[in-house]
């Protein structure tokens, strides 16, 4: 019972920190929207082309936006010593890691999900995208946070964090990207995307089962 309370306290603390400094979360969302605006400028504003690449572009940008936000997942705790207290706490570290991932998703992934219908309109995606895209992102972005948490934990205290994080984490993001884009395009082009949505859910459950343990193992390296 006290372990659950500790996890709740971690979620509440991280959310409070995110609210006190909203700039960091909003920066990722701003990147999401700004980078999207570059695509019509780059490939030309032909509506048919934008509809064709829209889901893929939005998903790739969501991957990048989450990648950018990963660094603040454990870095601050590592620097100010909170992490050492978490390592020493009687509550299982795996549970605290899951709590941190939940709080991180609420202050990053969830914002991307809420923002995505606007981006879908900007790319001129048909009406169905307004619910499929947020649904797919809502199923997929928690997986990205969980996988990214492994990479962030492995790189704590290393000499070159951010660039290496991309190399470690992006290959592992690929299945989420494939099924995420497949789900949206499946609905938009009449092929049916239900299977892909279910796959996204399966990937999430799988990541939820594996990632907290791998992350906790990586975090314990900092305490050795």
């Amino acid at each position: 019972m006290s372990a659950i309370r500790a996890a709740g306290a971690v979620v509440a603390r991280d959310l409070r920190l995110a609210f006190r400094r909203p700039g960091e979360s909003l920066l990722a969302v701003a990147f999401f929207a700004l980078a999207l605006a570059l695509f019509p400028l780059g490939v030309g504003p032909t509506p048919a082309l934008l509809v064709r690449i829209g889901a893929g572009v939005i998903w790739v940008l969501a991957l990048f936006a989450l990648l950018l936000s990963l660094e603040r997942l454990y870095q601050a705790d590592f620097e100010d010593g909170t992490l050492e207290l978490m390592l020493l706490a009687p509550a299982p570290l795996e549970l605290l890691v899951a709590a941190k991932c939940l709080a991180h998703w609420l202050s990053s992934g969830l914002l991307l999900v809420l923002m995505s219908p606007v981006l879908a309109l900007l790319m001129g995606l048909p009406g169905e995208a307004l619910w499929v895209l947020p649904a797919a992102l809502a199923l997929g972005t928690p997986t990205l946070t969980l996988i990214g948490s492994i990479g962030a934990a492995l790189l704590l205290g290393s000499r070159r964090g951010a660039t290496l994080a991309a190399l470690l984490v992006l290959p592992l993001f690929i299945p989420v990207l494939i099924f995420g884009v497949g789900a949206v395009d499946g609905y938009l082009f009449g092929l049916g995307g239900r299977g892909q949505l279910l796959m996204l859910g399966a990937l999430f459950l799988f990541a939820l089962a594996i990632a907290p343990f791998a992350t906790a193992a990586a975090l314990r390296l900092c305490g050795e």
């Binding site: 205290g157 290496l164 190399l167 470690l168 290959p171 592992l172 791998a214 990586a218 390296l221």
Partner: protein
């Protein structure tokens, strides 16, 4: 296994095995090349260009084999804190990356005359490319820390996470797109490739295996020597400090 945790015991074993693998490599490489480039018949559709297969297929097999080995060694290193498994995994990674690069390059050279393009975003090509990035990530993480022991532990975790994810990546990429020919040797109903081409392929595979083992043992020996040297240096520095103090 625990017996070979002692680097000295392993060194003795490596010193005994290495001459044999090197001799086998020197003997089999000319045979394999002769069989592949001269003896084997040209393909009835692809002509002599199909001979790239004798480099491409063994390299691709070894790329996967080495990653499997890397994951197993990382598991041993992680669970038992087995020093030698850690060194062996680290020594295997660049060789695996090199085999992956050879598979990609030879495949690209083969693809140009056959498919008319250097690269297609086909499932197998893409998943091998991802495998290459996994190798690069493993090696980069290994070297990313001031403390080499920390880098080795972190890289072990990454190798295991990668091994768990590799089937998922492979499966999702397969579903995404497929153009590469399906497996034609490892099949339940027997190989679909002519025996006159199969034999040279097996000899070349053996050559690649021997090459891997030889280079691997040499690299492990070098890593062990490096560690010993660092240890001796540290001890020497301490000795000097002691006499000075």
């Amino acid at each position: 296994m625990q017996g070979y945790a002692n680097p000295l015991a392993f060194r003795r074993l490596a010193d005994r095995v290495l001459p044999w693998t090197l001799a086998g490599l020197a003997a089999l490489l000319p045979v394999g090349l002769y069989l592949a480039l001269v003896q084997a018949p040209p393909d009835y559709q692809q002509g002599d260009a199909a001979r790239i297969m004798y480099v491409h297929v063994p390299a691709a097999w070894m790329a996967l084999f080495t990653y499997t080995l890397l994951a197993l060694l990382s598991a041993v290193a992680w669970i038992w804190r087995h020093l030698l498994a850690e060194v062996a995994a680290r020594a295997a990674a660049p060789i695996g990356a090199a085999f992956t690069a050879v598979a990609l390059l030879s495949g690209s050279i083969w693809g140009k005359p056959m498919w008319g393009t250097w690269w297609v975003w086909d499932a197998r090509l893409t998943s091998v490319l991802i495998l290459f990035f996994l190798y690069l990530g493993y090696m980069a993480l290994h070297d990313a820390f001031e403390d080499p022991a920390r880098g080795a532990r972190a890289a072990s975790i990454l190798a295991l996470v990668g091994a768990v994810n590799l089937p998922i990546i492979k499966f999702s990429v397969d579903w995404w797109n497929t153009l590469h020919q399906p497996a034609s040797i490892m099949r339940l109903d027997g190989p679909t490739i002519a025996p006159s081409m199969l034999w040279p392929l097996f000899v070349m595979l053996l050559v690649f295996k021997l090459l891997f083992v030889s280079v691997w043992l040499l690299r492990i020996r070098a890593h062990l020597a490096e560690r010993r040297l660092q240890g001796l240096r540290a001890m020497g520095a301490r000795g000097v400090a002691a006499t000075a103090g």
